[in-house]
Amino acid sequence: MLMNSKTYIAAAFVALAFGAPAQADERYAPVRDQTVIKECGACHMVFQPQMLPAKSWSKIVDGLANHFGEDASLDADTARQIKAYLVKDAADAGWWGGKFMRGLSKTSAPLRITETPYWVREHNEEVPQRAWSDPKVKSKANCLACHSRADKGNYDDD
């Protein structure tokens, strides 16, 4: 026999270490903060903070009274708490810079994830225009319409 059980185990580890992450390249840590989940999730999927730079999140939370055409204002304490959470894990929070910083200048602060160059590139080449007008999709903010595990931070099904 060429391989004993130890070799099999070692091979399994190698597969886990290199194989799995190679497929899992569109994953983000799911949001766990209960306030963020409750308040942001009342109207839309709870977007992962890694998808916008810190400046964007600040602008969004400061402008909740006119949030993409709706009044989504919160009391000051709740807003502060949510902003701190989003800014802490923002796309540009780490020294390496997240995927969503690709093509974005350090000073730009887009208000929509769907306006970032990374999101646009990932979707424009693969998603036909008609898909966006499907009533089941309704909005580009409805990630779950196509990425069924998006709320868990998993966008592998692209």
Partner: protein
């Protein structure tokens, strides 16, 4: 194998205990809702001494109206809640909204903070102003009957 009941329980007793244990849950939801409506009634009276109670009919008219005096994307309540209070709604971002009708969503209008928060936001979005106590009371009265 035969299962033996050690303590003899009269079936009527079991039913009575079960019924009693369910009562407080049912009672408290509608009690909380009544408290919220009573609060609106107090405020409505303060504003107008001739206040003669809330009207489900006026609440329905408000719900179905298309004021379009607020933000352009939300001209009416029904933009997101659909014209049928017993049906699910959908936010502009595509998320499902539980039916407004109390018969379908029994926990509706039982949390005063939540009620005030959503009236504040949605009245500003749809009407461009905050709602009066009369409007809020009418609205909750209408939805409670649905």
């Amino acid at each position: 194998m035969k299962i033996r009941i050690i303590v003899p329980l009269h079936p009527k007793l079991i039913i009575a205990v079960l019924a009693l244990s369910l009562l407080p849950i049912q009672g408290s939801a509608s009690e909380l809702r009544q408290q919220i409506i009573a609060g609106f009634a107090q405020d409505a009276k303060l504003k107008n001494s001739g206040f003669a109670g809330f009207s489900a009919g006026r609440g329905q008219t408000l719900f179905l109206s298309k004021p379009a005096t607020g933000k352009p994307d939300t001209p009416s309540c029904t933009t997101c809640h659909s014209i049928n209070p017993a049906a699910k709604g959908q936010t502009r971002a595509g998320k499902e909204i539980a039916p407004m009708a109390v018969s379908k969503t029994p926990e509706r209008f039982t949390d005063s903070k939540k009620v005030e928060k959503w009236f504040r936001r949605n009245c500003k979005s749809v009407l461009g102003r905050i709602c009066t106590a009369l409007e809020k009371g009418d609205f909750v009265t209408f939805m409670s009957n649905q």
